[in-house]
Amino acid sequence: MSAPVTIRLQTSDFDVAAETAALTRGRTDIGAVVNFVGICRGGEGEGAISALTLEHYPGMAEEEIARHANEALARWPLTGLTIIHRYGRLMPGENIMMVLTASAHRAAAFEAAQFLMDYLKTAAPFWKSEERASGARWVEATREDDAAAARWTKS
């Protein structure tokens, strides 16, 4: 059977249940669905974040994510995957993005979801700016994220 790939960049929120239903409806070859949702954190006290703005490179973001979605399909026996990434200004507690992977078995679904997340964190053309009482500041890339992404290129 086919392995549908859905990629959407949007300002509006998404509905994980509807996306899951779209990926699994009418199929009986799926044994495992893994979903990751990234949420805007707020923090507390003076350093609290009042809003997060996501900027992206239109066109490149879609193409880059599609390339990595295809790589995930080549590496793991997935029955489908969905990636939705929001952009624009978000408040703490709001959804930022989601990855959904489906497979006959759980290892493939978990690994593909982690692979796609590590990729999105380090190489997809998105940038985050956090607003605090002290002003807006661009989020810096972390070494942990780079290390997490590097594990998929080791054989």
Partner: protein, 83 residues
């Protein structure tokens, strides 16, 4: 050649995109960064640490040593922080 800027590169330069005509001596991405940095204070500020700047040619990540010949669109931006 169309040049795009994102995140704090865009903020420092004060524009999201522009058309530029780099000299023929600007053969690589690194050469283009050096030439852009010479165009004014705002550019010098944006490219003050060339090592942290990432680039894409026609929407594909490239390295500083990549040749820019034939490029229609070159984008400069800080390390990505999506997800």
């Amino acid at each position: 050649m169309r040049v795009l800027y994102f995140a704090w590169v865009r903020e420092r330069i004060g524009k999201a995109e522009e058309s530029v005509e780099p000299p023929a001596s600007a053969a690589t991405v690194a050469d283009l960064i050096a030439w852009l940095a010479s165009r004014g204070e705002e550019y010098a500020h944006a490219f003050e640490k060339p090592g942290v700047i990432r680039a894409a040619i026609d929407k594909v990540h490239v390295k500083p040593e990549t040749a820019i010949r034939g490029a229609k669109e070159i984008a400069f931006f800080p390390p990505m922080t999506g997800g």
